[in-house]
């Protein structure tokens, strides 16, 4: 493709070339000890091209060294979260022409360490996710029958199960911006998802992580997490509901170890 006219490269599967748009992408290579810098690329945009398509175009035709993480290209896997024109978006779900700008600034997600260029190291997200024990905790070793649940009981937490772990809420959250020990909206929402689940009895076990100095009370309801969530999980709502649970039990003395029975929560297994 060297030396070829830019207009000649037309990707298949898209409409006609509409206009050329400049991408200003933040580059950072850990191997050469330079600070991050912005580089500009001119991409002919065809109808229907997303930001991810444009990044792949740059990688294919303009600069092979550009690194970006992506997988499904349809907003399911949550790999390609990045900051596009100052706001966290999934690159695969952002139409370039809908942004309506001739210059598009692409940054890697904030509040994470950067592995290279647009690839953040999201191990912090998974670590925090593990901290709140995102699994159903029961007393018995092996269940004797199915755990039953009515549709109404499922609706209590169903929306929070849609989380795809893209990590954009931690990038948008103002508390995470300065407090790296803060669990983050994703982990807190998942904590509530299991606390609200009627099959779960692990409220006390999660309390140490959730009710800590860098737990649920460091949320100040700025709503940025819900604003950027690509799946409408509304983590801010989950955090406020979790706080309601903690506030109503504020004078209850919890046993941090031993039995794991949460207040006023009954098992429904075995009920037909």
């Amino acid at each position: 493709m060297e030396g070829s006219d830019m207009q000649e490269i037309v990707l298949k599967g898209f409409g006609e070339v509409v206009k050329t748009i400049t991408f200003r992408i933040r580059r950072y290579d850990p191997e050469n000890k330079e600070l991050p810098k912005y580089m500009e690329y001119k991409v002919p945009i065809q109808k229907g091209m997303t930001v991810l398509d444009s990044i792949l175009y740059i990688k294919e035709h303009l600069d092979h060294s550009l690194a970006a993480r992506y997988s499904c290209r349809m907003g399911i896997c949550g790999s390609c979260g990045m900051i596009i024109n100052g706001k966290e978006k999934l690159a695969c779900q952002t139409q370039v022409l809908e942004l309506g700008k001739n210059l598009i600034k692409v940054d890697p997600m904030g509040n994470y360490e950067i592995t290279k260029d647009l690839v953040p190291d999201v191990s912090k997200l998974f670590r925090n996710h593990e901290t709140v024990k995102p699994f159903i905790i029961r007393e018995e070793e092996e269940p004797k029958s199915e755990f039953l649940q009515t549709p109404e009981q499922r609706e209590e937490f169903a929306m929070f199960t849609d989380c795809i772990l893209c990590g954009m809420c931690l990038s948008a959250c103002p508390t995470s911006a300065s407090d790296e020990l803060y669990l983050g909206p994703q982990a807190l929402a998942q904590g509530y998802r299991y606390i609200a689940d009627n099959r779960d009895l692990g409220f006390n076990e999660r309390l140490n992580a959730l009710d800590s100095k860098h737990g649920v009370w460091r949320c100040h309801f700025s709503g940025a997490c819900s604003e950027v969530c690509p799946k409408g999980v509304d983590p801010a709502l989950a955090i406020q509901l979790l706080r309601q649970v903690l506030t109503t039990n504020v004078f209850v003395k919890f046993k941090q170890k031993g039995t794991t029975k949460a207040p006023e929560r009954k098992s429904v297994s075995g009920v037909s």
Partner: protein
């Protein structure tokens, strides 16, 4: 103390500060013992900066501090405010400097500053109630 209990007190003192703070604002306007309800009354033209009256004039402020009811309102307001403000500062600072060690330093430092502010403010209220020096 659990974090949820501290933050419960934060909300509670916040609401109490709103109630007592409104009294404090009314105190220097509508409810002031001063006959002319203005903050500052100066003698002559605005060039001469000599205070001769107004709700912030010495005698009227002194009259407020001499009243047991207003004195207790101010003392309670001070108590709630000091807790609310310094717990708020603790939250803000622990978000800038996360970490167990930093949390400890922040807490102890702020407790000391809070006690100084509280004692200094209480000294004013109590001594003024008893007629000053």
């Amino acid at each position: 103390m659990r974090e949820s209990q501290l933050m419960f007190l934060q909300y509670l003192t916040g609401l109490l500060v709103v109630v007592f703070g409104s009294f404090h604002f009314l105190l220097i306007s509508v409810l002031s013992p001063s006959p002319d309800k203005i903050l500052y009354a100066y003698s002559g033209t605005s060039g001469a900066h000599v205070l001769v009256g107004g709700t912030l004039f010495y005698s009227w402020v002194r009259a407020v501090y001499s009243s047991l009811i207003w004195g207790s309102v101010l003392e309670l307001l001070l108590t709630f405010l000091v807790f609310h403000v310094f717990n708020g500062f603790r939250v803000v600072l622990s978000e800038i400097f996360p970490g167990t060690r930093a949390d400890k330093i922040i807490t102890y430092a702020l407790v000391i500053v809070a006690l100084v502010v509280f004692i200094w403010g209480s000294r004013t209220v109590v001594l003024a109630l008893n007629g000053g020096f």
